[in-house]
Amino acid sequence: MSDSIIKVENLGKQYVIGHQRGERYTTLRDVVASNAKRLGRKLLHPLTSASSNPHVGREDFWALTDVSFEVRPGEAIGIIGRNGAGKSTLLKILSRITEPTTGSVRIRGRLASLLEVGTGFHPELTGRENIFLNGAVLGMTKAEIRQKFDEIVAFAEVGKFLDTPVKRYSSGMYIRLAFAVAAHLEPEILVVDEVLAVGDAEFQKKCLGKMEEVATKENRTILFVSHNMAAIENLCQRVILLEQGSVTYSGETTKAINLYLSNILPSAIEAVPLMHRTDRSGDGSIRLTSFHVEDQDGQRIAAVSSGMDVTFVLGYKCYGDHPYRKVDVGFSAHSTSNQTLFVFYSSYMGRLFELTSREGEFRCRVSKFPLAPGRYGIGARVVVGGDEADWPNDGIGYLEVEAGDFYGTGAKGYNGAAPFLVLGNWSLSDTASL
């Protein structure tokens, strides 16, 4: 037999999603009503098969299809993919929280999963009490927890507040304590979801260090899901790339990351190259032919992280008599609900171009990119001497923004859906400082 510690074969997971808005759970009424309807239909039309869909407005959705891979003992495997690619579903199946619809998983050894920091923590209980509670929830015995207790407290740096209810903890302390408990589990396999996205930079470093230690020194197997490519690169020898529920690549880390970053653009816009698109207005004297973004080293990237210095590159081609003078070019970003977030023309900076060659690129370097993680539509327009030359109506592409170190502190900042990030200095002036 094989020496794999995890063997996943043809795994699939199907969800049934209701399309009725706001329907969060089934009620008896729905079931009774739909059964009655079916019965009524049967009585009225006894010859037609009863297969006419009883779940009107329902749709099957495969979160995972035909996923197979193996993990050898001691390996650290990264799992990456866009939101909704099936990463969390995969982890949930491996952790036995939910069941697969097809396929099987064979796991040899104890598996502990950390899909969320602080699961089972109770705000009213003290730090000490929560260590025991959380440990038990994660599958540790009382004796094991007692044995690890000092180590956990030391790692979490909450010594003084051990007998304070955790509802009085700062969020940082809370997370430290929660991670500390989980990090001191001693399973053969550790499954970790995006938990390092929280906490301050120093603590994130500490957590990663701890995970590295677990992986290398203690030779445990780790499955790690993250959007933080740097962490993945650091920790994992092998990466599985998930796209729309299936494995599209499994292998070397850097290759997988590159694939991930370059495949991230949606195919809808990409299917027709910008140059050949017909949804455009303007006189056509100049045409935008391509769009991509580059990092500060001039490397082409498909996803930007908040706070990075990024260069927007717009390729063009001239069709009329060039040279063109007084060329103004701009691009814009739009939210998924199509709200315009910013418009930035070269003329705003007092810059108009003169195009002498037939082809070229407009380049715009934006430092400290200020958009929060998310997906944004990018539009662009070229104007010559005040007349519109080219404007692709449906935009020129999408930009995926990942969480990044915008504030330079390692903190991600606001967790809600505000699109903009602002940088500034905080200070205090109060009656005492007068």
Binding site: I97, L133, P165
Partner: protein, 274 residues
């Protein structure tokens, strides 16, 4: 190391279900302990509530049924008569209420970490059991006060307690698992509990039920248990109605095993549905 192998398959009945449950036995304790520890935080009277609640209910029942309605008490002080019946009933009612809501109030945990799901409703029942033990002490104080001497029958109390436990657990498992999918049960359970106290012989002795209705009356599994408690505690000579007790045992057994069966059948999809 351990060569424990786990196979995850669709609809695969987990092979080591009960062994798994055993290895997580401390979790039952921790969850129950958490609920007890948390319950009286930020209250002034604190733990005293565990005593005050049953005593107050007993006083009300004594006044309403004993003094105002003048129901027969068969020579036993009415407070003792009421309290001995309230013990199993309160235990059942609290356990049912708590356990049927337990999965929903722990939804976050269910969807983020694996552990035997049975631990949640079971520990909810255990919390109510602790209340039951406290009430038991109150009862003994009451018996000393009214100078009611227990007879040998008191030794059957553990068996009767077990029956009450089975009834609470069985019904709790049914409602807990149904509640995950059909939140209607959130409204049905309080109603059952409210109705139950009137159709169970809590505020009165079941001797007032006409004999021809007695068997039908005993379909309520708690009726037999409550009569049993009263019989064991008050040392009353009124003969216990054995067909009712037998019926209770049968119904409770069915309820419990049916509950476990239902729970196991549905627990695999809890995380998807909740």
């Amino acid at each position: 190391m351990s060569q424990e192998e786990i196979l995850i398959k669709p609809d695969g009945n987990i092979k080591n279900y009960w062994r798994d449950l055993w290895s997580y036995r401390e979790l039952f304790y921790f969850l129950a302990w958490r609920d007890i520890a948390v319950r009286y935080k930020q209250t002034v009277i604190g733990f005293g509530w565990s005593v005050i609640r049953p005593v107050l209910t007993m006083v009300i029942f004594t006044v309403v049924f004993g003094r105002l309605a003048k129901l027969p008490s068969e020579g036993v002080p009415y407070p003792v008569l009421v309290f001995s019946a309230m013990l199993p009933w309160q235990f059942f009612a609290n356990a049912l209420t708590e356990s049927s809501n337990s999965l929903i109030s722990n939804a976050q945990m269910l969807s983020k970490v694996y552990f035997p799901r049975l631990a949640i409703p079971a520990s909810a029942v255990m919390v109510s059991f602790v209340d039951f033990l406290i009430s038991l002490i109150v009862l003994f104080i009451l018996m000393v006060w009214y100078q009611v001497a227990p007879s040998w029958r008191i030794v059957t109390l553990p068996i009767l307690t077990l029956l009450a436990f089975g009834a609470a657990m069985g019904a709790g498992l049914w409602f807990a698992s149904l509640n995950v999918k059909y939140r209607d049960f959130r409204y049905i359970v309080p109603f059952i509990v409210q109705l139950g106290i009137y159709i169970s012989p809590v505020g009165f002795s079941s001797s007032i039920v006409p004999p021809k209705w007695r068997l039908l009356y005993s379909l309520n599994p708690m009726a037999g248990v409550i009569d049993g408690f009263r019989w064991a505690i008050t040392g009353n000579d009124a003969e216990a109605y054995w067909p009712a007790v037998a019926l209770s045992v049968i119904i409770i057994t069915l309820l419990l095993f049916g509950g476990i069966w239902q729970f196991r059948k549905t627990e695999r999809s809890f995380a998807d549905v909740i």
